[in-house]
């Protein structure tokens, strides 16, 4: 039986995997890292290090930035420098110890490990200024948006330097949602104009400094951005929603990038989830996407589910499909 790492590599390169990769089994996510900083619990309201105010209603799945007049950080893109101030990145050695202790337990021959890097460049733009202002900003003030993104990218590189220095991860798991279920937020040309080069710099920095794998999360439609993903150095696109026509993407781009997802979390990761429905979704997905360049996975961005038991049951569903199809 291939090791986890070997099986992943065979899946990615289109070789001879002996089973499906089971969701995030190849990647240990180190949540204890002090960077990037945001720790919240349901029911909390928190102002983060950028000054962004987050609310997390109880019994809801996650926090959300608030952009009313009182809380919005970046009020005027034309004077963004007056509003955007980077948080500190130099944490003392002691702050890294929990993350380092966790990372040291990972068998690096067998698996990869990474921090959970969130939010990415596009999300930072709209977290700072509100999504409507950000989206209109690309038209209203393109030069200022370029400046802002370059500033945020420089910050990402500074954070990356710290993470690499302290933890030496061999992978990067990076989160930046680029669309909704059926569309990207930006036209592909606009996305390319603003985000391709900054992301190329960021992902190549990580790869030059020890990351063998870049896993990018966007649980959305983003099929039209796949050529850019490849160019910026993404190895695995995690969160591929079924609206992307994953089999077609695998056919067209599988030799260059691996697709991880295709089982939309929305319909199956619910309070009244059933094993039968989950297994049905995983069977359909595995059969339509095939064994190569594809990792069956709930589209949520992490090694967990919103409702207890779903992630583990998904792993069992994949085991079943491996028995059926390999």
């Amino acid at each position: 039986m291939l090791t986890i790492r070997e099986n992943l590599q065979e899946t990615m390169k289109g070789g001879n995997p002996d089973r499906f990769v089971k969701q995030f089994e190849f990647l240990e996510i180190i949540y204890e890292s002090p960077l990037p900083p945001l720790a919240m619990k349901p029911g909390e309201n928190v102002t983060d290090a950028w000054g962004i105010y987050w609310q997390w209603p109880k019994e809801q799945l996650g926090p959300f930035p608030v952009h009313d007049d009182e809380h919005i950080v970046l009020k005027d893109i034309n004077n963004w420098k007056d509003y955007v101030h980077v948080p500190k990145v130099d944490y003392p050695k002691e702050a890294w110890e929990p993350a380092l202790a966790h990372a040291n337990k990972v068998n690096k021959e067998e698996r990869f490990f990474s921090v959970f890097y969130v939010p990415g460049l596009f999300e930072m733009c709209h977290h700072l200024m509100g999504i409507e202002n950000a989206l209109m900003g690309f038209y209203d003030a393109p030069e200022r948006m370029h400046e802002l993104i370059a500033f945020l990218a420089k910050h990402e590189l500074n954070v990356a330097e710290q993470i690499i220095e302290h933890l030496h991860p061999n992978a990067l798991f990076h989160h930046d949602d680029w669309g909704s279920q059926y569309s990207t937020f930006l036209a592909p040309e606009m996305f390319r104009t603003f985000f391709l080069e900054p992301y190329k710099k960021i992902y190549s920095y990580w790869k030059q400094n020890g990351a063998e794998l870049v896993v990018h999360h966007s649980d959305s439609f983003a099929a039209t951005l796949v050529p850019d993903m490849i160019e910026m150095g993404i190895d695995i696109w995690q969160g591929v929603m079924s609206s992307n026509n994953t089999p077609e993407l695998i056919k067209q781009y599988g030799s260059q990038i691996t697709f991880m997802g295709d089982i939309d979390s929305g319909p199956v990761d619910t309070v009244d989830w059933t094993k039968e429905k989950l297994y049905e979704y995983f069977e359909k997905s595995c059969r339509r996407c095939g064994k190569l360049h594809f990792i069956p996975n709930l589209t949520q961005g992490g090694d967990y589910s919103s409702f207890p038991g779903v992630y583990e049951a998904a792993n069992n569903a994949i085991d079943q499909m491996s028995k059926k199809m390999f």
């Binding site: 209603p57 608030v66 569309s183 036209a187 929305g266």
Partner: protein
């Protein structure tokens, strides 16, 4: 003489300044406010909605078009009121309790305003009781409920139940990423829209 087709193009392009200037000029030239609204502004937003549905344009283009429309409409509104032109419908819209997402709701509100509706935006995290209060206060005939999360979708069913128990005779339409026609039917909504552009057609049908 202002050509209303040019005004339409200006709306489609999202040229806010030109939309305002051309609207002012059209009024000064004696073109009727209702004609400017229907043949200039709404005609432009109809094209925007159609192109968005087909993925020919994206949210930024829709937003700048809606902004141009809104600014031009502000110039027109006093004239429309003088001429006795009424909105084609009146709608209250909000994201349901527990849900803070607003972009979808905002896009629907913009498109409906662009189509000639009067829209009362209740914001996000709206309790069912607030919907009741605002419906009674504003006399809207249509209510739009938005939810982006599977965990907040039940808020739609709860809101519909509360509205019915309050004896309000409003039509209710729902939408949002996890929402489907099947779900809309199950919870007793009168209409469902998959996106902001089709929301206009659904809303028009429900107020007809």
């Amino acid at each position: 003489m202002i050509d209303l087709k040019t005004l339409t193009e200006v709306i489609i392009k999202g040229d806010q300044a030109s939309a305002v200037n051309m609207t002012k000029e059209a009024l000064a030239e004696g073109i009727g406010a209702e004609s400017i609204l229907n043949d200039g502004l709404i005609a432009g937003m109809d094209v925007v909605g159609d192109r968005f549905s087909k993925n020919e344009i994206y949210i930024p283009e829709m937003l700048i078009a809606a902004r141009a429309m809104k600014s031009a409409l502000e110039i027109l509104e006093p004239e429309l009121a003088k001429a006795g032109v009424k909105p084609i419908g009146k709608m209250a819209i909000g994201t349901v309790q527990g849900d803070l997402h607003d972009i979808g709701k905002n896009l629907v509100a913009m498109m409906l305003k662009g189509a000639g509706f009067e829209v009362v935006d209740l914001g996000v995290d709206v309790k069912p009781e607030k919907f009741v209060e605002k419906i009674k206060e504003t006399g809207v005939q249509l209510v739009g409920l938005s939810a982006l999360l599977t965990t907040t979708m039940p808020g739609m069913e709860k809101t519909i139940k509360v509205l019915k128990e309050a004896g309000l005779s409003v039509k209710i339409m729902v939408g949002g990423a996890p929402v489907t026609q099947e779900y809309a039917d199950k919870i007793g909504a009168n209409g469902y829209a998959a996106d902001a552009a089709s929301a206009v057609d659904v809303a028009k049908r429900l107020v007809a």
